[in-house]
């Protein structure tokens, strides 16, 4: 089976600084893949490149819908990438603070709807139907993620953990088959992290999405991931299943530093 995401030799330069150096990465259908590395290793840059926020210096990126043909992602705007079926969350939460929880999810539905300006003004039956559907669909999404009790709250008034989950709900509303999570457990306590762990597994089984995540919480990474990629200074230093990564000397070196006498 073809990988849903296939990244070849991705390189990103900021002036003289090489933030990503010939990175290869694949995500296969139904997989949960983790991308780890020390702070500043280039993980978020990698996300920004594949989602079209940055234009990479070199390399190819392909997205393949299950039972579909590979589509090249290079040069696409972020909204086109999302339309193609890859949605993301952000490391520092980027919700629409002054919109309600439901409206945040409705924004996620935006690219699957068609009402334009004339439709908005004259409200033909098709637009009315679409509007009813988007409210019902968004509410159903909140039910799945367990946020219905906040439905009419402003996003900014939500507790931290709920904001993280709302970001996931909003991304899922775009109907992705690949979900990118940028440090979903950052700032969560042990209990919230455990709930997140269950949620991510449930997303894979119920909604048939593949997941690529950046995470610093090693316990979460090791329990969730099928495969792990490790990057340091923009280079891929290791790849493999959790067991292999745990015992990989290069990874240990990157995280703990070299012995003084070495």
């Amino acid at each position: 089976m073809k990988p849903v995401l296939d990244v070849n030799q991705l390189t990103m330069d900021f002036g003289g600084l090489r933030a990503l150096d010939h990175i290869d990465l694949q995500v296969h259908p139904g997989e949960i893949v983790a991308l780890i590395g020390p702070n500043g290793a280039g993980k978020t840059t990698f996300f920004n490149c594949i989602t079209g926020i940055y234009a990479p210096t070199k390399g190819d990126m392909f997205l393949t819908r299950p039972q579909g043909e590979p589509k090249r992602l290079n040069g696409l705007k972020p909204n086109r990438v999302t339309e193609r079926g890859m949605a993301r969350t952000f490391q520092n939460i980027r919700l629409f603070q002054n919109m309600t929880v439901l409206e945040n999810v409705m924004i996620g539905r935006h690219c699957r709807l068609h009402t334009g300006i004339p439709g908005a003004i004259f409200r033909p039956p098709a637009s009315r139907r679409e509007e009813k559907e988007v409210v019902a669909d968004s509410y159903a999404m909140l039910e799945k993620i367990g946020l219905t009790r906040y439905v009419n709250e402003f996003a900014k008034n939500l507790p931290y953990g709920a904001q993280r989950r709302l970001e996931i709900a909003r991304a899922l509303a775009t109907e992705p088959f690949l979900l990118l999570l940028d440090e979903p457990a950052a700032g969560m306590n042990a209990q919230e992290t455990k709930a997140l762990d269950e949620l991510i597994l449930r997303l894979r089984s119920d909604m048939k999405v593949s997941i690529l995540l950046i995470e610093h919480d090693m316990k979460l990474v090791m329990s969730l991931s099928d495969r792990i990629y490790v990057v340091d200074y923009g280079k891929k230093i290791a790849e493999g299943n959790p067991e292999e990564i745990k015992s990989n000397p290069a990874v240990i070196k990157a995280y703990l530093g070299e012995d003084i006498d070495a």
Partner: protein
Amino acid sequence: MITLQEIKKSFLVSLWFMFLTFPIMVIKVNTIEQTIEWRWWWMAAVGLGAFVLSFFWRIAIARKEAGKKKAEVSGEEKIALIPRLMSNPRFYIPGLVATVALVVIFPFVFSMYQTNILITALIYVVVGLGLNIVVGLAGLLDLGYVAFYAVGAYSYALLNYHFGVTFWMALPIGALLAFLFGIMLGFPVLRLRGDYLAIVTLGFGEIIRLVLENWNAFSFGPSGIANIPKPGLFGLKLSLQQSSIFIYFVMIGLALMTIFVVRRLQDSRIGRAWIALREDEVACQAMGIDKTRTKLSAFAMGATWAGMGGVVFAAKTTFINPTSFTIWESVIILCVVVLGGMGSILGVIIGALVLILLPEYLRAFSEYRMLVFGALLVMMMVFRPGGIVSGVRRIYKFEGLQNKVDS
């Protein structure tokens, strides 16, 4: 509430003011008799005035802070008085009936002068609602908005002068031209936001005005265009007063149409995208919203209303020249939106009425008119930074939603 410390602080303020104003308020040189008058009682007046004002200012600020704290403790935001009244049919139905009655009989009861300033206020309602789309909903600070107003006004004036186009033809044409100019301005500023956008739009507004001022062959320069016909009513001959009344009702109709359209846009897929763009541009794009199209549509839809407002303005004054379209005009329209309440339709309407009618009725204060006006604006922004009526998000109800989906 009133502590000794506050009295002390106010006392210090009054001392400071007495000292500051001493040279201009107390010393008066009589140049004829070569003597100096010492007007000590002026000093007392300044001291007392500063003390009282500062004291009340302190109390008002303290009350505001206390109110904010209380809202934080109770954990719920207090719904403002006006939206609460609006949602209660016992209040808003009689209110609506009274408003409609007043609107209908207004031009027949009050003088032509009153009708005319209300027409001006209504033009600002329409134009303000247009700018509200750009600034209030999409969060794009546009300081050159008056350019689109000028486009509307000049398109009627010039089309009428050269081709004899009537008001009713010019209204859609002016709107369309302004729409196109909105897109034209939109393209170069797509990458900009915040302060940079404000400065570029400011430049755009000035370019339009300067072109109109200097391109004599096209726009007749500073001398402007005169004898623009007022709107016709099936070829009837209208007296000056009748035609004022007619424009008044045209404007009421246009304002109602604007409210209707802006409301619908706001509650639609497009309106949500505008608000999302205001909240977070990066996240908005990552959620699949086309930033280019959304920004352009906001500029274009906003400009359309300014264009229509401009056509009516030209028809009402029957004479236009570039001095009607200075940066000051953009600032007033922006004030209407900010003072009224960004993103709130009712707020913008009230804002326009207050900002346009108040200076007229303050004429009694003659030279202090603008001082009073400015002081009111400052107080408004300190005590109600959200505007007179702040925007409210729509509440969706879900009782029995499950059953509906199942059946």
